[in-house]
């Protein structure tokens, strides 16, 4: 230790203390912001979007653009009417995320009023009515998608054949319209329309062969199948999901448990009754399962907070999805499943709360 040397007090700048701010501790905070989180989610969403554009062309981009713009506009309009800060609310980016997710959940060619109605449903009914970001118990994009599916079933099930789908595809053959071949079916809707064979014989095994064979599954994997913009290209979805996990934005348990549960249930049913439902791999690669499991079920606001809660939540989603896909009227059940499980989240949160430190006296490994 040494004696302090600087004793010259002539030209040093001393604080006056006039602009001191008083606040509660902590006085430093992490650089993470809500807007940054939303920005990262948007970044991850770019991959499925790019996949959709590759397979469906620029009209897909137009749909996503419309939903995003309408969502942001709806948010701004609401804030203006409700007297809430417009700039701050819009800039947190949550409306844009909802918009993009909703866009990726639409078929590639929808009339402009579908994005408009969807955006209003998502932002107004799904979110702002509850008080805005964070208070909504249901995922706004899912509310909008389910609402559109129920209200405008025709517009929401016009599927465009993706790039690379030729005449050999069963979808095209079965659903070629007399006038032109601009629409096709999704593998799931074909599966849903195939009569079930409740035995375990040769015919049962052959029941889904037309749409569920290794050759087609590979094409499904890359994205050659009818479906919504965001859900076709599996590799793009996986890249986006990995990004989200790396950014620590989603709980990995949700997609893993969700997809796992669907695989197990469809696997078991397929093993005993191959004529009732296609193979689990078919279920994983078709429809919106992967996209929903990675981007919709994982929405922070509407899934449980704790890891245990997330596992219950995802398993519930998986069970309902499988049940609807196998036995329900709708070919696809992810949106309904997520919406239903969203309603269960408060209960799950209640039962899966953390155990505070110090409430159990002894633990293993005590010295």
């Amino acid at each position: 230790m040494e004696e302090n040397s600087n004793s010259s007090t002539s030209d040093i700048l001393m604080p006056t203390g006039e602009s001191l701010v008083v606040s509660s501790s902590p006085h430093v905070v992490s650089p993470e912001r809500t807007s940054r989180i939303m920005g990262k989610v948007l970044l991850a969403l770019l991959f499925p979007l790019a996949g959709g554009i590759w397979f469906f062309g620029w009209k897909a981009a137009w749909v996503v653009f419309l939903t995003t713009v309408f969502c942001v506009a709806a948010e701004a309009l609401w804030c203006k009417l409700a007297g809430r800060p417009v700039r701050k609310t819009v800039l947190d980016g949550s409306a844009a995320v909802t918009g993009v997710i909703l866009g990726l959940n639409c078929p590639p060619e929808v009339p402009f009023y579908v994005p408009l109605i969807g955006a209003v449903l998502a932002i107004w009914i799904g979110k702002q009515v509850f008080g805005g970001l964070g208070y909504n118990p249901f995922n706004p994009a899912v509310v909008a998608r389910v609402g559109l599916l129920i209200a405008l079933p025709a517009a929401m099930t016009v599927w465009t054949p993706p790039r690379g789908m030729d005449k050999d595809f069963p979808e095209i053959k079965e659903f070629r319209t007399p006038v032109d071949a601009v629409t096709c079916a999704t593998p799931l809707s074909i599966a849903g329309n195939t009569p079930k064979i409740k035995t375990n014989d040769f015919f049962a095994h052959e029941n889904f062969k037309k749409i569920d064979n290794p050759e087609l599954l590979e094409k499904y994997f890359w994205g050659v199948k009818g479906g919504c913009i965001g859900e076709v290209c599996v590799p793009a979805i996986l890249i986006g999901a990995v990004l989200l996990v790396c950014f620590n934005l989603i709980n990995w348990r949700v997609p893993v448990c969700y997809v796992g549960t669907v695989a197990v249930i469809t696997g078991v049913v397929n093993y005993f009754y191959p004529g009732v439902t296609p193979s689990p791999l078919f279920h994983l690669l078709t429809g919106g399962l992967l996209f929903a499991a990675c981007f919709m079920a994982t929405d922070m606001v509407t899934c449980p907070i704790t890891g245990t809660g997330c596992i219950f939540f995802a398993m519930g989603c998986g069970i309902i999805t499988s049940v609807i896909r196998i036995w329900g009227n709708y070919p696809e059940g992810v949106s309904f499943a997520i919406l239903f499980m969203n309603a269960l989240v408060p209960l799950i949160d209640k039962w899966s709360g953390t155990r505070p430190f110090g409430y159990v006296l002894k633990r293993k490994g005590e010295v």
Binding site: M1, S25, G358
Partner: protein, 444 residues
Amino acid sequence: MNKSTRSVMTFKNGIYPVYHGKELSEGAATRIAPLLARYTVPVAQNAGKPPEVIVKAGDKVKKYQLIARASGFVSANLHSPVSGEVKGIIEVPGATGVPAQAVEIISDGLDEALPPLPEIDWKQADPKELLDRIAACGLVGMGGASFPTHVKLSPPPEKEIDTLILNGAECEPFLTADHRLMLEDPHAVLAGAAIMSRILGIDRIFIGVEMNKIDAIEVLQEKSASYGVRIVPLKVQYPQGSEKQLINAITGRDVPAGGLPMDARCVVQNIGTAAAAADAVIRGIPLVERIVTVTGPVVKTPGNWKLRIGTPVIEAVRLAEGVTEEPGKLILGGPMMGFSQRSFDVPTAKNTSGILLLSQDQAVNYESGNCIRCGRCVQGCPMHLMPCALAAAIESGRFDIAQQNHVMDCLECGACAYVCPAKRPLVQHHRRAKAEIRRQMQKK
């Protein structure tokens, strides 16, 4: 360094601040502050009952002279840091925001000290004698809570104690006072540890040090063998230096909710307190000065100074050659748990480990955006609470829900508010709920 086979220890949950700010001052050797003309020594520098002032205006005092006597068991003596004349008992801004009584002493410039108390040979001495000396010298916990040390060292007989832990984690960003102390005076720290363990009659002594102070770990490890002390490297994780988390990291024990470290058969003391204990026993001088880190992005030359208690903060800033721009926030203590001040007249005390000045850009933090239920606060809470749910309940005035969800166990460590992306003032909510619930319980 001599890496032992044990892995780096830590506790569950907690956070990893991205910017530690320690590099500002960790390389600056401790300097002794020059004598000032005026000191305002706060009277209540210990948790529990404040001591009783025994000097009055006009009295001449010498350095180390007793100016306030402990007024009970949970109370600590207070000594004059300087020789001079007592000008009076005045009101100064307190560190927690409530004005405090302070003894104003005008230095006579001579810095005359009373003769130190006789040295005690602690290896042979009666534990009671050591304990009395520590009480006489007015030692309090120097980590922040300022609990009188002699109280902590005399646990009730029905509580069995087997471990003494010295807290050298210094997990708060920016602070380097304990780091410098371990580096520069390892013998005092280790001797203090040995003295305390002799008082407690135990021989399991650990010093927990975070891995960002490798040089201090090396220095301590080199010298620790002869004192029977084990150095435990800890993971750099906040709040590693919280008593309960430290005990958990080192011994694996959980302090029961609402309990004290002694319920986990441990006593936890700060590094600084140990060094002060060694000073009291070996050198016979009471606690009148301590190492304080004066730092922050706007401080011109951040560093560590040995400041006498009662030094006005403005003088400490002058030692650091002032500021580069007008600061937006003055914090006594670390940035995570320290108190923001409204004026530079606040004096330092026995528990002031740091004086931190933040720029005006860094000052305004809280926006109270909507909770997006991201769960980062839950992952970060070292007490495994759910701060987001608590805050939502508190904002709606539902203190009953907050109490059911264990808000009373909150440490106010600030991990939740640090990680919150919506910048919600979670800690303030919890404080409010704790105050409210305590008030309701008192009413009953």
